[in-house]
Subunit: 127 residues, 2 copies
DNA sequence: CTGAATCCGCGGGGATACTG
DNA sequence: CAGTATCCCCGCGGATTCAG
């Protein structure tokens, strides 16, 4: 007879695979246009919901809340609610969030660095 | 009467806005799960279509071709066709592609660095 | 102002079959 | 093996409405 452990590998292996699937999950959450644009928009400032919507252009009300919830859940943004009327809610990057922002910055830098290359490549390809 | 230039701003401004919209377009192309996973999988190696499909787990035939076309169009991957039978097609990162890869690496590093933080944040949030 | 909920259309994306 | 084309469905995501 074959035990579950023999089929699945040692516990440490199982942990590794669990970590990997978690990493993948986080990656899937974060590696999407809107999430990254929100991170980038937040930068060092703390912004209100409506300011954020103005900042990230083209984003809909729904996508903004949805992504903000996701980012909050993962502990990348801090959500500060001021119990006033009308309500005032401010979003700020947490330390992990700022860490991610650094990589997004790099990506933006990359984009601008290769704008020319890419534009040329496209023209060539499209003919 | 108002000229087009007066409405749109000076030519230099127009150029800037064009560059921005292009940058945004590129960002939207590239800032998606599959594209980034492909970039990461390619790394320094050159891989065949089928190897790539095995490497990037969960990706479908269709998504793989679709994203590869897009990456090729933007000049991020080089597509080498060997006219043999059966055909053999190899993909390699170009220099701009490797540049992007560096930032994706950073993002993966970030993911693993904060795995614990995030897992905790999720548990807290989900209760 | 922020946010949840509902409705709904369109397109992302999977499965399959077919070419070279 | 690599790539394209077709079908089809589910869910993303926009618009709108209601609540606090």
């Amino acid at each position: 007879m074959v035990t579950k452990h023999q089929l699945d590998g040692l516990p440490e292996d199982a942990d590794l695979r669990r970590a990997d699937s978690l990493a993948r999950e986080i990656f899937s959450d974060v590696a999407n246009k809107w999430a990254l644009l929100i991170i980038e928009a937040l930068g060092e400032q703390t912004l209100r919901f409506s300011e954020l919507r103005d900042e990230v252009d083209g984003i809909s009300h729904k996508m903004l809340t949805q992504n903000l919830r996701m980012l909050e859940r993962n502990g990348l943004v801090d959500r500060q609610v001021h119990p006033t009327v009308p309500p005032r809610v401010e979003y700020t990057l947490t330390e992990p969030g700022r860490g991610l922002r650094a990589t997004v910055d790099a990506m933006c830098g990359w984009t601008h660095q290769y704008l020319g290359h890419i534009e040329d490549a496209r023209r060539t390809f499209d003919s």
